[in-house]
Structures are given as structure tokens and as C-alpha cells.
């Protein structure tokens, strides 16, 4: 048993225990889930050092045991720099979700916390799985608790939203399953590392048609999850109707399953197809960035506003990935994490407001900063992080993405940067309408400032936002190392494609090399 096995399976154990607890003692259930999820977070911190120390291209805590003999399906898990932080993001946010649900979830408390733990199990598993079959299992398993979280504890249109969420993802995963089985028949294994090595070495020969269809099979499943414009329509519904904890987990972690899948599987395995299709994918990503921001601007509903801002932010991630540059990849992962923290925090804050006023309409607020200055401050910091203010988390990621795309095609950068400006517009306008101005007596009366529980939620988030924005060296090195490995063969192939251009000898090894190859791509066009 490695530490990673504990991190993966302890939430499942806790889920079973939570189901067995007596349902009348809600305080005990809450305390149990809180302590358990905090413990999981502390345990998961132990993952950092070994991953950091692992040599490039190697997975830490790798474990490869037979699960099912025919067809060969293995329990193959491992962590690299990309998955490490996503796992820790999951374990970090789960206790906060427990805390925010403390008072706001009033019915079927036992089942709520049980599903939250099951969700944690599924999400951690998705990021650790290195066997396609295992990945698919976790991918689908995480769907079920989220479906129930939305459907049972959500708002008015919860049933419609839960169904829509489930069916969208289900349709995408059906295509992915076909692709996975097809890949198995070609490769004779579900093992990600072996298939990747086989494809790169040419041992697994796929013709370009096969590559295209396999890429699309994976891509559509992931694009629905991201969600990439125009497959995003399930997201606003699911976000708005979900309870706060559900929105947080959905926005902060579940959407990352899609971008993680693109980065880990779809792009490295089918680089030619990915590059051949990058044109329209980038256009969709940029459309998503601008469209998401514009739609967010006119939303009267706060949760919907934050949901559309997610569409916009996730567009950056896709853009970064499909720039095929080191900066783009690094930026994509950084946006994934920063968006996880900042949007999670925004949903939590909206949840606080909802608990006080029982409304998500922006118009129902105004002047909140007078009765609740600390709440307003927390919202301000989070909002600035979300906009991409330097020294706060999102800025680093978006900057890296823009830099990465600028190497490939400067037009993309210009259009994508519009999204940054627009995000400032909708966020500041939201803030102005909700927090400034004169508070009505009725509002002041129902708007106490943050209580201890809410401080306990917000303080860690604010610290992380500032930390990620000001000292990237605590986070970025393992991400870059893993990205370089994923990107390496893709760059190598790029040189083969543009053989007409004599490769320039890189002056400074490491740093100049990717830029040089990207330059070649431009000249090749």
C-alpha cells in the first residue's frame, strides 16, 4: 500500500462509514465528515515531496496490479506534477464544502455528506488513473454522486439540471468508451503509459483516419466536461441549481477532469490529429472566452454569472493546451488550479450571501459592504483574483497562456486578451451593484458579517490565492517538468513536419528550444 492508495481509497471507506452512521445524529455526521476530510487533506500533503523528487517522465507512487485478467485491466495509478495539484485541490476543497454545508443543508444530512465523500473518491481517482479503463470507471463513478447532489439538494429546477448534466456527460463518455475499446484492440492494453510509448515509438501504428476518429472520440467527451463552447449549455443550469458545495466541486474540480483529459490523454496520444484540428478548436476556445464573458455580463443571477465566467476561464485552458507550447501548457494547468481556487471561493461567497438573503438575484442586494465589511473584503479579493490582478492566482496562468499563444499566433492572443478585459467589466459591475451603494434597512438587518465558520473557509482560500499569485515556485516546477515530458515528443514531431526549414541550434538549452520550434511552425505556415 502506497500513500496514494490511502488517499484514493480512504474517502470510499469514509463514505461507507458515513452511510452506516445513525441518521438522527446530524451533528455527529457533520463532525465525522469534517474531521475525515481534513485528515485526507493532511495526508494528501504528504504526496508533494515524492512527486517533486521524482525524475522527469516518471510517475511517483506508481502501482500496477492486475484487477481483471481478461481483458487485461490493471489498477495502475501514479502521480506526476499535473495530477498532484489537482488531487490536492480536491482534498483541499472538500473540507471547505463540508463547512459551507453545515447550516445550509437541512434535509437528508447523512446522505448529503456521504455523497460528498463518494464524489471526492471519484475525483481523486480520475486524476490518478493511468489505465484507461480505470480512468473511465472513476470518470463515470464521479458522475453519480454529483447527480444526486444536484437533484436532491438543489434549487427549484434541480431535477431538470441534474438530468441534463448526467445525460450530456453520458453521451460524451459513450463515444470515449468506443475510442478506448478501439485503442485496446489496436494496442492490446489499456495501460496509458504503454499505449503512449507504443504510439510514440511507432509500435502501435494508427493511420491518420483512425487517429482523427480516436482523437475526436476522446475530445468530445472532454470538451463536454470542460465545457467548450458550444457544448457548455449544461453548465449554467447545473451550477445555478446545485447546492453551494455541489457548485464548488463542479466548478473547481469536475470541469478540470475535461481539461486534464485533454492534456493527459487526447493531445499527447494523437498529436497529429490534435494539431490538425487545433484551428477550429482554438476558435471555439476563443469564442468561449469572449462569449462566456459577454453572457456573464448580462446575467441578473449571481451564480449564473459565475458559471458563465467559468466558461470564459476554461476557454483559456483549452487555448493554452492547443498552443502546443511549454508556456501554454504550464499556463493551462495554472489556470486550472487558480480557477479552482478563485471560482470555488466565489461560489462559496455567493453561498454565504444566499444563506443570508435566500436570493441569487443581484438586484436583491446592494450596499452589502456597509453591514458586512469583511464579507465584502473577502469578495473583493476573490473577485480581483478571478479578474486576473497581478499578485493574485489567476494572473499567472492567464499570462502564461497568452504568452504561449503569442508564440504561435499573435491574433489569438489579441482576441483572448479581450476576455481578460471583459472579465474585469462583469466582475466589477457585479461588485458595484451588490456591495456598494446604500443598504436598505431590510438588507442590513439580514446581513451579518462573516462568522467564525465562514472565516475558517475564506482565510485559507485567500492565503492560497495570494500565494499562488506571488510565489509560483511553490507550485510551478513539477507542473513544468511534467508538461515538458508531455510536450516533448509533440515538439519533436513538429520538426519532422517542417523539415524544409533548417532547425536553428538553440542558444540556451531548455528555454529557447520550444520557442525556436514554434517559430519554425510560423515560418512553415
Amino acid at each position: 500500500m502506497t500513500l496514494l492508495d490511502f488517499v484514493i481509497f480512504l474517502p470510499l471507506v469514509a463514505f461507507v462509514i458515513a452511510l452506516a452512521l445513525p441518521k438522527d445524529n446530524s451533528q455527529a455526521i457533520r463532525m465525522f465528515t469534517l474531521i475525515a476530510s481534513l485528515a485526507f487533506f493532511v495526508i494528501s500533503l504528504g504526496l508533494i515531496a515524492p512527486v517533486w523528487g521524482a525524475s522527469a517522465g516518471k510517475f511517483a507512487f506508481e502501482r500496477n496490479d492486475t484487477w481483471i485478467s481478461v481483458p487485461a485491466i490493471n489498477y495502475h495509478v501514479g502521480l506526476d506534477g499535473i495530477s498532484l495539484w489537482l488531487v490536492i485541490l480536491t482534498t483541499f476543497l472538500t473540507p471547505l464544502c463540508v463547512l459551507v454545508s453545515w447550516r445550509s443543508i437541512g434535509k437528508h444530512i447523512k446522505q448529503f455528506y456521504a455523497f460528498l465523500l463518494l464524489l471526492e473518491f471519484g475525483l481523486i481517482g480520475v486524476f490518478c488513473a493511468l489505465d484507461f479503463f480505470l480512468f473511465f470507471v472513476f470518470w463515470e463513478v464521479s458522475l453519480v454522486p454529483m447527480y444526486f447532489l444536484i437533484g436532491i439538494w438543489g434549487h427549484e429546477r434541480r431535477i431538470y439540471s441534474a438530468l441534463k448534466f448526467f445525460l450530456y456527460t453520458m453521451a460524451g463518455s459513450a463515444l470515449m468508451l468506443v475510442a478506448i475499446i478501439y485503442l485496446y484492440n489496436a494496442a492490446g492494453t489499456f495501460d496509458y503509459t504503454r499505449i503512449l510509448a507504443g504510439i510514440q515509438s511507432g509500435a502501435i501504428a494508427l493511420n491518420s483516419t483512425e487517429q482523427l476518429w480516436l482523437f475526436l472520440g476522446f475530445f468530445i467527451a472532454f470538451a463536454i466536461k470542460v465545457p467548450l463552447f458550444p457544448l457548455h449549455t449544461w453548465l449554467p443550469d447545473a451550477h445555478v441549481e446545485a447546492p453551494t458545495a455541489g457548485s464548488v466541486m463542479l466548478a473547481s474540480v469536475m470541469l478540470k477532469m475535461g481539461t486534464y483529459g485533454l492534456l493527459r490523454f487526447a493531445v499527447p496520444m494523437f498529436p497529429n490529429a490534435a494539431r490538425a484540428n487545433s484551428g477550429w478548436i482554438v476558435i471555439l476556445a476563443i469564442t468561449g472566452i469572449v462569449y462566456g464573458a459577454l453572457v456573464a455580463m448580462v446575467q441578473p443571477n449571481m451564480k449564473k454569472l459565475v458559471a458563465y465566467s467559468s466558461v470564459s476561464h476554461l476557454g483559456f485552458v483549452v487555448l493554452g493546451i492547443f498552443s502546443f507550447t511549454q508556456q501554454g501548457f504550464d499556463g493551462a494547468v495554472y489556470v486550472m488550479l487558480a480557477h479552482g481556487i478563485s471560482t470555488g471561493a466565489l461560489f462559496l461567497l455567493v453561498g454565504f450571501l444566499y444563506e443570508r438573503r435566500h436570493s441569487l438575484e443581484i438586484a436583491a442586494y446592494g450596499g452589502v459592504s456597509t453591514p458586512a465589511p469583511w464579507l465584502a473584503t473577502a469578495f473583493m479579493i476573490t473577485m480581483l483574483a478571478s479578474i486576473g490582478l497581478p499578485t493574485l492566482s489567476n494572473f499567472i496562468g492567464e499570462y502564461l497562456v497568452l504568452q504561449g499563444t503569442s508564440i504561435v499566433d499573435f491574433h489569438w492572443t489579441v482576441f483572448a486578451a479581450l476576455g481578460v478585459i471583459l472579465s474585469a467589466c462583469y466582475m466589477l459591475w457585479l461588485y458595484q451593484r451588490a456591495f456598494f451603494g446604500k443598504a436598505t434597512d431590510d438588507l442590513s438587518h439580514h446581513m451579518p458579517d462573516l462568522n467564525m465558520r465562514e472565516y475558517a473557509i475564506m482565510i485559507p482560500l485567500v492565503i492560497v490565492m495570494a500565494w499562488m499569485g506571488s510565489y509560483t515556485q511553490s507550485f510551478l516546477p513539477p507542473i513544468s517538468a511534467s508538461n515538458a515530458v508531455l510536450l516533448g515528443p509533440i515538439d519533436a514531431r513538429r520538426e519532422i513536419h517542417v523539415r524544409a526549414v533548417p532547425p536553428k541550434p538553440p542558444a540556451i538549452p531548455g528555454e529557447a528550444a520550444p520557442a525556436a520550434t514554434a517559430q519554425e511552425l510560423i515560418s512553415a505556415r
Binding site: H108, M170, A174
Partner: protein, 484 residues
């Protein structure tokens, strides 16, 4: 003279038939109402004895009674499956029969006869034997479908099932006659040899017609489109525990003979029937899933779902490779478990006279009887095909077989179909967990021991096959090689 090995190999059938006959005779001797409960115990003992005999017979594989029967892994698999279905449907029927004041020896005897017929189908190595087994099973099931004589719906179900069923059986028999006329034999292996022989091309059209006629007969029995029309009415009308039985046992046995005949006898003319099975598979999935979307009666919904699932198994037959056979076997076992579980919940919930069979009636069951609803949720998730349940691996193997056979489009359309199917299963989950309890849920009674046993056994089976499918799959893969 039959040898002792001959008897040993068909001991399960002998036990079932003898027990069925005995029970009919004993009833007259037994006096008083309570005594009738003893009959269910006797039936249970007969089933267990047959199960033991079936497993034991597997250690002594071979032909029996002048090549009329064959005991191989395939036969054992289906014998154990149909006897298992018999046991579970017995568990879920006892309480129901008491509730409807209809406990009598006939029910148990017919159940035994029906299972005996299905065991004969599983072991038959010859078309006449297949026909006899099919008839024994079918006639017993026709009567069971109309078991509650005073109920209009029961009568309708039985009559429809009987008339259409006899019609379909006639097709099957006609097909048998054609193939006998063409090849001069009813033995499966001999037919295969005859169709492979040089010069068989001249009679290929005759053999193809025979295959088509037999396809109609089998497609009816497994409720594959376009011969599925009877299924919704019959499933809805028949008593709930009978529907439970019908949707699992006779269907599995019919698929067993379907597989054996088409993979053995008709394998030389695969290219002739494969397109039809392909089309039928797709049509079955489409009809089942899209019709199920609009149902409000839960028995009818599960009937259409059962049609859709037959479509998935047809995909495995269309793949006509060895992994396809294994996949179909695995799927039928998985399907039997999850379907029996679901119908057991309906049997329990519907109350006397099957008052509560609308989907909305289940509102709030998740909070009123969390255990029952939780188990039902497992069955539904398995029917959807969510990983870690048997249903997922079943689908996975089937579509893997399809891709192995290069049926890429069938696999894609089939899996998209299963995404459509998720909608109507989720609707049941929605009602159970996301709606407020209504009259039906508030008056729900505690779960009886028999139903509870059925539910737990099916749920454990569904999860075990979902997490550790190798156990069963290895056996299925090994036995699939024998069907040649």
C-alpha cells in the same frame, strides 16, 4: 440402452420434472391453507438439488442419449443461470401469492416445468430437442402469465402471449423442417458439416431460408425487433413475479439456443444472416429505448428496457466471434440479476391487486425505505451501465466484441443508445429521491423475507460481477470455445 452417464448428465432435468409432478400429486393429499407453504420449501429443495446436479454434471462433460443432449460449459452456464433465476423468482413469489390469495401447487409445478424446459434448451444438441424444451418452457410460461384467473389483464397477457407465441413457434418448426429437408439431419453438428461440405453452395439458399425462419422463432422468444410487439403487453399484464421470471429465465434460455444454433449449425453461412442480426440488433435497441422514454407504467417501462437489453445481446450475436458468445453469456447473467432485482422491488411495492405500478407512485421511496430504494438504485445504475456494476461490464464486453468484429457503427450507435436509456432509468431515481412521498409510499409495508433475500442476492451479485467480473467471464470464455 442409456448408460448411467446418460442419466447423470441430464439429472437436473429429471429432478425438476419429477419434483414438478410430485408437487401436483401431493397437493391433493395436503389439507389446510398453511400446508401449502410447504410446497414452496419443496420447490426450493428441488431447485437446489437440480443446481447441485447441474454443477456436478459439468465434471463429466459429453454427449448423452444418442447425441440428443450435450453437457458442456455452455450448457452448464445456462443451466445454472436458469435454475438460479427459478430460485430467485420463487423467493419473490411466495409473499405475492399469499397476498393475492392464490397460493397453490400449480404455480410451483409450472415454475419447475418451465425451468426444466429451459434446462433442456440449454443442453439440447439437436433441433427436435430444442423444440421440445422450448415448448415445455413456453407452455408453462403461458399459463403462468395468466395465473390470476380472475384478473382481466392476466388473461389478456396470457392469451396474447399464447397466440403470438404459438405462431412464432410454428415458424421455428417450419425452419427445422426446411433444414432437415436440406441436410437430412436435425443434429446441430451434422448440419454444420453438411453445410460446409463441398457442393453445399447449391443448397445454400434453402439453408438460408431455414435460418431466416428459425431466426423469426428465436427473435420472438428473445423479444428482438421486429418481433417484440408482444412483450410490453405481456410483461405489463402478467403478475409481477411472473414478469420477473419471464424477463430473465426464458429469455436467457432462448438466447442460449439462438447462440448455439447460429454459432454451430449456421456458422458456415454467417455472411447470410449476419446483416439481418445487425439490423435487428440496432432496431431492437432503438425501439426498446425510445419507446421506454414515454412510459408511465413501471412494468411497461421495464418491458421496453428488457427489449433494449435484448438488443445489446443481439449486438454480441452480430459480432459472431468467440468473445461475442462470452459477452452474451456474461450479459445475460448480469441482466438476469439486475432485472430480477428491479422486478422484485415492483412486486414488493405494488401491493394487493398491483395497485401501485405507476412511476410516480414510487415518489419519495428513497427516504421512506432507504434500503430497498438503495438496492433498486444499484439495479438501475447497473441497467444504465455505470461502472462497478455488472451491467457496465456486460455492455463493455459486448461492445468490445462488436469492435473486434469491426462493427464500429453498431458499437457507436449502441453506446449512444445506452446514453438515451440513462434518461428513463434516471427518471425512476428522480422520482424515488427527489420527489415528496405520496400516498403509495406512505402506506408501504415492510419488505418480506423472500423479497429481501431476492434483493440482497441480486444486489450482491450485481456488485460482485461489477467489481470482479473475471470469475464469471473466465468461465464464459472457456465455455464459449465449446460452441462449435
Amino acid at each position: 440402452m442409456p448408460t448411467s452417464a446418460d442419466y447423470f448428465r441430464i439429472l437436473p432435468e429429471i429432478i425438476l420434472v419429477v419434483a414438478g409432478t410430485l408437487i401436483m400429486l401431493i397437493e391433493g393429499v395436503l389439507a389446510g391453507e398453511n400446508k401449502k407453504s410447504n410446497l414452496s420449501v419443496l420447490t426450493f429443495i428441488a431447485f437446489v438439488a437440480a443446481l447441485v446436479a447441474a454443477v456436478a454434471a459439468n465434471s463429466n462433460q459429453g454427449l448423452s442419449y444418442s447425441n440428443m443432449f450435450i453437457v458442456d460449459g455452455f450448457a452448464t452456464f445456462f443451466r445454472v443461470l436458469v435454475i438460479g433465476v427459478g430460485i430467485l423468482s420463487l423467493f419473490s413469489a411466495t409473499q405475492y401469492l399469499k397476498r393475492e390469495h392464490a397460493e397453490s401447487a400449480e404455480y410451483y409445478a409450472l415454475l419447475l416445468f418451465s425451468v426444466a424446459g429451459q434446462c433442456i434448451m440449454a443442453t439440447a444438441n439437436e433441433l427436435i430437442m430444442i423444440f421440445i424444451g422450448l415448448e415445455i418452457s413456453s407452455i408453462a410460461t403461458y399459463i403462468l402469465a395468466g395465473y390470476l384467473r380472475d384478473d382481466k389483464r392476466n388473461n389478456e397477457a396470457a392469451l396474447k402471449y399464447f397466440l403470438l407465441g404459438s405462431f412464432a413457434t410454428a415458424f421455428l418448426l417450419y425452419g427445422i423442417a426446411w433444414i432437415y429437408g436440406t441436410t437430412g439431419s436435425t443434429n446441430l453438428a451434422v448440419i454444420r458439416t453438411a453445410l460446409q461440405a463441398p457442393g453445399a453452395d447449391r443448397t445454400a439458399i434453402l439453408a438460408g431460408t431455414a435460418a431466416a425462419l428459425m431466426f423469426v422463432g428465436f427473435a420472438f422468444k428473445v423479444s428482438a425487433a421486429p418481433f417484440q410487439i408482444w412483450a410490453p403487453d405481456v410483461y405489463q399484464g402478467a403478475p409481477a413475479p411472473v414478469t420477473l421470471f419471464m424477463s430473465a429465465g426464458p429469455k436467457a434460455a432462448a438466447f442460449a439456443v439462438f447462440l448455439r444454433v447460429f454459432m454451430t449449425s449456421f456458422s458456415p453461412i454467417t455472411n447470410r444472416w449476419e446483416p439481418f442480426v445487425w439490423a435487428s440488433a440496432l432496431l431492437t435497441m432503438l425501439v426498446g429505448n425510445f419507446a421506454a422514454l414515454m412510459q408511465t407504467n413501471i412494468k411497461r417501462l421495464l418491458a421496453y428496457s428488457s427489449i433494449a437489453h435484448a438488443g445489446y445481446v443481439m449486438v454480441a450475436i452480430a459480432a459472431h466471434n468467440q468473445i461475442g458468445i462470452a459477452a452474451a453469456m456474461f450479459y445475460l447473467a448480469a441482466y438476469a440479476l439486475m432485472n430480477i432485482g428491479s422486478f422484485a422491488v415492483i412486486t414488493h411495492f405494488s401491493r394487493q391487486g398491483e395497485k401501485f405500478v405507476r412511476i410516480e407512485d414510487l415518489a419519495g421511496l428513497g427516504w421512506k425505505q432507504p434500503v430497498t430504494a438503495g438496492l433498486f438504485a444499484i439495479f438501475l445504475l447497473s441497467l444504465i451501465g455505470v461502472p462497478l456494476t455488472a451491467g457496465f461490464f456486460g455492455k463493455f464486453y459486448i461492445f468490445k466484441a462488436a469492435l473486434d468484429a469491426n462493427l464500429v457503427w453498431l458499437a457507436i450507435l449502441g453506446l449512444l443508445n445506452s446514453a438515451v436509456a440513462a434518461y428513463y432509468y434516471l427518471r425512476i431515481l428522480v422520482v424515488m429521491y427527489m420527489n415528496e412521498p405520496g400516498e403509495a409510499t406512505l402506506s408501504v409495508q415492510p419488505v418480506s423475507v423472500g423479497i429481501s433475500a431476492t434483493l440482497w442476492l441480486s444486489a450482491v451479485g450485481t456488485l460482485v460481477l461489477g467489481v470482479f467480473p473475471s470469475v464469471l467471464l473466465r468461465f464464459a470464455t472457456n465455455s464459449s470455445a465449446l460452441v462449435k
